[in-house]
């Protein structure tokens, strides 16, 4: 097995009485699509937030290319080439799509005075969206006026535009129609083919099996199984998620 690009080892996180992560481990290999699946409340989003620097874990280790790192903010994660599409999208609804794409990474006309180069940002936003096959009626309309699917596209485009190693996508297709959903899956493959690994979180098992190279299963805040997607069946995935099947720590599936 190649050295993981990004790895979590025995990460714990507690919210009050809820042990959201209970010694969770997870690995992303270079150039792969890995699906992170699990029942509602299994801790998937929490794990994503830990690995993208949005929250700090109570314990455990995070390694980037084998080196232990501390991700104390999303900026740290970005510096390591890790981008995230959050489940709640994390867009500013009153700003337009271009402004959201470049939020926190603005391009300047007069760098000294921090004067923004709005037309440059708009232009490259348009081409970033075009590259993903996203059609926005108006890149300078506030994101709040876009449909749910269009907003999701903006969040995906933002991650794709800046990631160099890993993109986390927390349920990127949940709000999408059939056509848009197909596009996002195409984009996931396209990003992988550029050499960027994608972590896909999804409740849609056929979708997972269609696009992922590997699958890791989380249950009650802990990894319970790992599969190679081409060898796994729907029943196995569901079994692992519900607890009927546990392979991790028993030397089962690799």
């Amino acid at each position: 097995m190649a050295e993981p690009l990004l790895e979590a080892r025995s990460v714990t996180k507690r919210y009050g009485h809820v042990q959201a992560l209970d010694g969770a481990s997870f690995a992303v290999l270079p150039g792969e699509v890995v699906a992170l699946i699990g029942d509602n409340g299994a801790g998937k989003s929490t794990l994503v937030k830990v690995l993208s620097g949005a929250i700090r874990p109570d314990g455990g280790e995070i390694l980037v290319e084998g080196e232990p790192v501390s991700l104390s903010s999303p900026v740290d994660a970005r510096r390591h080439g890790i981008e995230t599409v959050y489940q709640d999208l994390a867009l500013a609804p009153d700003l337009d799509a271009a402004a959201n794409l470049y939020l926190g990474r603005e391009i300047y006309l007069v760098p000294l005075l921090r004067v923004l180069n709005r037309s440059a940002m708009r232009r490259s936003a348009v081409s970033a969206f075009a590259e993903l096959g996203v059609e926005l009626p108006d890149v300078s309309a506030p994101v709040a006026t876009l449909s749910g699917g269009q907003r999701q596209s903006v969040a995906v485009a933002r991650a794709v535009a800046f990631a160099s190693k890993v993109i986390f996508m927390d349920e990127p297709t949940a709000a999408l129609g059939v056509v848009q959903r197909g596009r996002v899956l195409d984009n996931i493959r396209r990003v992988r083919d550029r050499g960027i690994s994608v972590v896909l979180i999804s409740h849609n098992m056929p979708e997972v099996l269609a696009v992922a190279d590997r699958v890791e299963v989380l249950r009650l805040g802990r990894r319970v199984a790992r599969f190679t997607a081409s060898e796994a069946s729907l029943e196995q995935l569901v079994g692992a998620m519900t607890g009927a099947l546990t392979t991790e720590g028993e030397g089962g599936v690799k």
């Binding site: 709640d88 402004a99 999701q152």
Partner: protein, 355 residues
Amino acid sequence: MTGGVQAGAAPAGGATPQPRPREPWRGPAARRLARRLITANETWTLLALAILVIYFTVRAPREFFTLSDFSLIAQNSAALLVMAVGQTYVILTAGIDLSVGSVLVLSGVVAAEYYTHNGGAAAGTGTVWLGAVIGLAVGFGWGAVQGFLVAKAKVPPLIATLAGFGAALGVSYLVTGGSDISSMPKKLTSTIGLASIAGVQWLIVISFLVAIVFGLILAYTRFGRYTYAIGSNPEAARRVGINVDRHLIKVYALSGLMAGAAGIMSLAFFGNTTIAGHATDNLTVITAVVLGGASLFGGRGTMLGTVIGLFIPAALQTGLVIIHVNQYWQYVAIGAVLVAAVYLDQFRRRLRERA
């Protein structure tokens, strides 16, 4: 007042994109422009101001909206305009600054105290400048403390600045013993307070310069964009690496600084500290910002809107006096317009969320 947080969330479930109804008789570009104009709050505010001006001009063609009227209104509103500039930033972050009138008084009192001990009416230019800088620093510092309370101590802005409002006035009374200081340097009152440049009062020039400069900063720089982003969705701003707390402190400090500037302008204009005269400045200023189309939930509003919003009550007051209607009707009218403006904002927000 963190209503922006949920606004970014996508609707749950697998809704398919709705086909949009087509309007073949209109090109998309024209429609976009039309939609932009209709949804821009300043359009409506400007329309309201225009209607007022036209109405009063027709009713009293020789008296209303003469040049002298306008410059009188602008001069009386100069300090308010400067405070409204700071307030606009605060309201854009979904905050509020109730302290401005008291901070104006406190800054003026501290500067006046300095003047009395350094030559009084005969103080030189250097002293006048230094006193002004001291006044600005007091406002800035006071605002920064309030910003710290809001950003770091998580005290709601309403409470933090209400406390600041009371405390600043209290300190002003303690410093002066309750009686206004009134021997201001001639060099201050006869220049900024009275003189004109190219026929326009200095106070007006200063207030509009401040509005223009900070309007440009708001619209075209990173500072402005972060202000909108934080008011729109603070969590999203945090996740892209914006230091939200530090930005909030800066915004409240800016509002304090503006109140400090207004304090010096007020000293120059009135020639004394007018301690009891600014109890409702905060309400006047907030009204202007909201009439100007800013959303109390943050993220929406412009400096142009604020400027227009400030002159609506002023035009109303002048107009009512001229057409011999009891001018106290203006307060009733402004109250009604204010409620209408906020209702409209809420209504649009609900529409948007449903879409």
